[in-house]
Structures are given as C-alpha cells and as structure tokens.
Symmetry: C2
Subunit: 360 residues, 2 copies
C-alpha cells in the first residue's frame, strides 16, 4: 500500500439501540459482541497487515478515550483525536483530517467505523487498496455495499458512469445519496442494479476532503482553521474547546458528500453489517438448530425459535417465544420482539427523561 | 359454629407453575403473591372469626413444615400433620382425618387449600357454615364455584336434585365429577346451569369420610388403620414412615369422591381463583391503565399491555409486549406469553431432568 495511506476509526457514540448492554461506560465499540475481542479491537485487527497501528488514527469523545486506550491495540496515544463533545461525523472527520494532514500532507485516509461487522476481512482490505488507488486521483470514494435484501434501515448510494478499474474493483461516479427509503423504494433500488448501501466508510486524501469541506461547510471550515492554527501549540486544547462549543452538529453525508465534486463509489461485498440493533446480531451470530442465538445465558427453552438470549450467568427460561430478543445484564432485563429492536432507543430516551442515569 | 367444626389446610406441594418464584425452599403457599402476607397466612386469617388457630389443622410434607410453622399463625405444633412424602390428596386428607377423629370423634372437617385466592372472605365463611350444616347430616360436601367463563383449566361438578337449604345456600346431590373439559364441553357446562367448578375444597365428618374411604380405597384404608393404631404411641413416626413407603398416590376426587355415596355440592361465589399459573395472577392483581401488572420491578414499557412483570429490584424494559409474562427472580428470568403459562411446569421438568437442582 502507498506509504501515505492511513485509517481513521470513528469510535464515538454509545450504540443506544444495543441497550442495556451498551452503556455510556461500556459503549457498543468496547463490547465483545461478535467474539472474544471488542468491536474496536476487531476494527483494528482487520486492518492488519494492510496498516500497522502507527498508521491508524481514532476519533473519539473524551469520556470514552480511556476505554479505547485500555484495549492495548498498539495505536499510539498521539493518534487519538479527542472531541470535546459529539458533533456528528462531519466535524469528527474534519478534526481528524487536519491532524492527518499535519502528520503527512499527502495523507490518504480511510474513514472507518469501530462498531460494524465485517465478515470477510481480507476482501475488505482489498477494497481499501482499490479505494486508495482511486482516492490518489483526487476523488472522494465511498464504499458501497451490494444489497442482499431491500433494507429500509440503510441509506443508499446511486451510481452513474464508469470511472476506473482498480485492484479488481470498479469505481463509478456517484449520482446521488439516498436516505433510508420506504420498502417499495428499497425494492426498486435493489432491482435497479445501480444502488449500493451506504456503508458510511470513505477513502480520500485528507487535503482533498478539506477542500470540499471549505466549499460545502464554509462556516464550519472557518472554525476548523482556527483550530488548525493551534495544532501542536500549548493552546490547542483551549482553542478546540472554545471553538467546539459553537460547532453545529452535521453528518458527513448531508454536510459534505451530497454536495461534493468528484465523488466515486466502489460497490463491494465483504459480509458487512452495521450491527445497528439486536435484530442484526440475531442475524450475524451463529445460531442453533432452532435458529436461537444464546450467549452467556444458561438457557432452558420450550417451543422457542429465532430468539436471541444474551445473559449474564443467570438462568433464562423461555416458552413460546419466536423472533424475540431477551437481554439480561446485571441490573436490567430487556424483552422485545425482533421487529421492534429499533425501538430500544425509545427505552433509552425514557430513561433519560426520567433521569435514571444509572441505567444509561 | 358447631364446636365440632375444624379446618384442614392442605399445604403441600410446590406450585411449580409459579416457577421461578415458587421453589422447593419457597413454595407458592409461603409466598406473598397477593399482598403482604403469604398465601398460607391468608388462608388461616380468612377463617377468623369462624375458627381459632386451635381448630385449624395443616397437612404438609416434612421438608416444608418448618416454613409454615415459622409463619407464626398461632396454629399449635400438634395440629401439623406431617407426610413423609407426597402421595396426593386422598392419603393426605385421610392421614389428617384419623388425627382429627382422635381429637374429636364428632369432628367435621373443612378441607381447604393453602394456595388459592378468595376475594370475599366473609362470603367464604358463610359457605363453610352452610356446608358444616349439610355435613352434619352425614353428607360429603364439595364446594362448587359458579363458573364466570368456560374454563378448560378446572374440573367441574355436575349437580342433580335439590337436597336442602342451609344458611342461605342450597345443597344439591352430585351427579358426576367431570375432569378438565375441552372448550366446547366447557361452554356447554357453563350454559347448562348445572355445573360448578370443582374448587377442591370439601366439608365432611372425619368419620364419614373414613367410612367412604374404606369402601372406595380398601387397600389404602387397611394401611391407614395400621397407622391409626400407632397414633399417640412412640411408634407412630416409624410406622407411618414404613407404611407410607408403599402407599400409592391418589387424588381424593378420583379415589373417593367419584365413587362415594351421599355427595353434595353447594354452588357459591366468593371470588375464588386457584392461582394456578402466572396467567391467573395477571387476572387477580390490580392492573394499570394498560392492563399491566407490575410488581417489585422498576419497569419501563414501550407499547406494552396486559403484561405481568414481577421483578426483583432490577430494571425490566419491555417493548411491544402484549399478554406476556416476565418474571425476574435473583437467579432466573422467565419470559412467556400468558396463554402458555401452563407450560411453566415443562421448564421445571426440564430443570429436573438436567439435574439443575439449584433452580428447583
């Protein structure tokens, strides 16, 4: 790989749809949801041997940085970009881009996530190589996922004309980003052959991204330049903290990508899943002959199928449950049907409103 | 009331359909399922002022007698009839009947249960008075419950001709005992106007019951006479234990009542429910505006109705649950639909088979 290639792992957020396991003090990305290692550790591991920990940056909130450093992934402390507060993906990536550009003016950065599942790590690294080659030509590359079903839970990227072949993959010009569609539209997208899921992962030159940012988010770009001017000075923390107070929350999709020039998509498949809810975990994890996924719990089931039981050294008994989710942590139990898994966020909202912070 | 009137409270059994709350070491009858006091304590209390604790006998297994004595109901220790092992209701009642007849040859005994709900205690005591008057005429009286719906979970008693009025109630001759019917038959029973639920509560002279026993269960009666001969002797425990080893399990309904002469039924209503499963608890206990019954748990519900949540100082979060049961004890969690509540026994059976005795 080019010696200007770096990864940025976005590791902020809580993953509140994975409550009650995911909490402020144990967010989704530090949980070993898919195996023995945390989601964050797996995100680092799957880059090997493409990238060494020295070339991996992490952007994260200050309340969570300690948890990630404790993972001992080998990423140097100086590679952690710390946000004083969450402001969405656009400011998080931009703050990291100025740090990366300072490290290496030619830096190509792969913007990755800490909390997604990727079944085929080797295939994933090959896509990154391809995207790096396309990004070297000053394009903003988004990694598209070939849809396996008409999901209404993901955004879509619509592609237009062929741009270039790279490392066995094909890059296309992006025609449009589409927000989460209804089912009819999703079915249309899947049959069109022109739509990929928007994985939320991107590859570009840091400098090229910042150029587009100056055009698409000029107000924030001005704020960012104030921060950049303080980089590597004793004032950095103070300036960052001051400026960040007035930064508006914005996603990179809406704030930059939808308006950017020279945006490319590389459609690919590498067993990707955003692990957005307990329902997706039920899909990913190995299940038994009844379609049940049982983790950590001592389970006794009568007429129970397609059910996720995540326990905590306690007996969980189920009767007549189908397509259900039962999560038992030390202090809380969640029970809901699989098709209501998106609404777990409502429980978290209710807990916030009633100020039961011990469960957040 | 006649000074020959006594109560026998049957307090054996576990109540395994109320697992995981009901356990060998904390069976249903010692649980405060319906209020602040245990089911057993409530069974004693509701007899006041009809009967003093001096006139209340209790039949129970030896592993549970300590729990009941610890309730401090005022029942003297000598009134506890201890079974070396459970052999069904016929032997339990018979063993108590010989003790009662020894205490008082004219004893009329009301055979009651420790683990049923009775909403109208005063009305219940009035029925007992009526039944005592009918039993004084050498009849075996069964308390029938006027059905409020076509239950397939209860047995039925079919009545024939009018026998006698007593204390504002009417006694009828019993035509037949009917086992738990299917729904079509149950509907027929309810509309017939001739069928009551079999409450499993009876009133008779101890001596009259033993006479019928000698006819209907002669083999067991002979065994019982061996035990009776040892009553009040130092040999009693040894003889009882020896004989009991060969006693066959039998219910009083099948073993005695279905074949007995002079069986009467007094149909009545006193808010009776056998609290046979979690589903019945959902019916009895006060519910909130969504029909939910929440006890002890800190509950957060989204779109949850007609659901029983029994917790233990832990948060229970539910989404999209309707007619469901969630029971969380310290070491176990049960989740099942209300209409599968009868199958809780299958969980207990599975635990027995896999020798997980810590949960029994």
């Amino acid at each position: 790989m080019s010696n200007h290639f770096y990864a940025l792992i976005m590791a902020g957020g809580i993953g509140s749809r994975l409550w009650p396991l995911s909490r402020q003090k144990s967010p989704k990305q530090v949980l070993p949801l898919l195996g023995e290692h945390s989601m964050f550790a797996m995100a680092v591991e799957r880059l090997n041997p493409l990238l060494t920990p020295e070339d991996i940056f992490v952007v994260v909130g200050e309340e969570q940085v300690g948890l990630l450093k404790a993972e001992e992934t080998g990423i140097p402390d100086r590679n952690f970009v710390i946000e004083p507060a969450g402001r969405g993906t656009a400011p998080a990536i931009a703050l990291s881009a100025i740090a990366l550009r300072r490290r290496d003016p030619e830096a190509i950065m792969a913007v990755l996530t800490a909390d997604h599942f990727i079944g085929d790590a080797e295939g994933f690294r090959e896509v990154l190589k391809a995207a790096g080659q396309v990004a070297a030509q000053d394009r903003l590359v988004t990694l598209g996922i070939t849809p396996s079903f008409p999901s209404t839970g993901y955004g879509y990227v619509e592609r237009g004309r062929f741009l270039i072949n790279a490392n066995g993959f094909t890059a296309y010009q992006v025609v449009a980003f589409r927000e989460k569609p209804d089912l009819v539209t999703a079915k249309h997208f899947v049959t069109s052959g022109r739509h990929s899921w928007n994985s939320g992962m991107f590859v570009w030159k840091a400098s090229r991204f910042l150029d587009e940012l100056s055009r698409t988010m000029p107000e924030f770009y001005a704020q960012l330049m104030t921060i950049e001017a303080a980089l590597d000075t004793p004032d950095y923390d103070r300036v960052l903290r001051n400026v960040w107070q007035t930064v508006k929350t914005q996603t990179v999709d809406y704030g930059v990508m939808e308006k950017a020039r020279d945006v490319a998509v590389i459609p690919a498949e590498f067993g990707w899943n955003d692990v957005g809810s307990w329902a997706t975990l039920l899909e990913i994890l190995d299940n038994d002959e009844y379609g049940n996924v049982i983790r950590r719990a001592e389970h006794v089931g009568v007429d129970t199928s397609n059910t996720l039981v995540l326990g905590r050294d306690r007996l969980v008994a189920t009767i007549g449950l189908h397509d259900m989710i039962v999560i038992d942590t030390g202090d809380a139990v969640l029970v809901c049907p699989k098709d209501r898994a998106q609404d777990v966020k409502k429980i978290v909202d209710a807990l916030k409103q009633s100020d039961r912070t011990q469960y957040l």
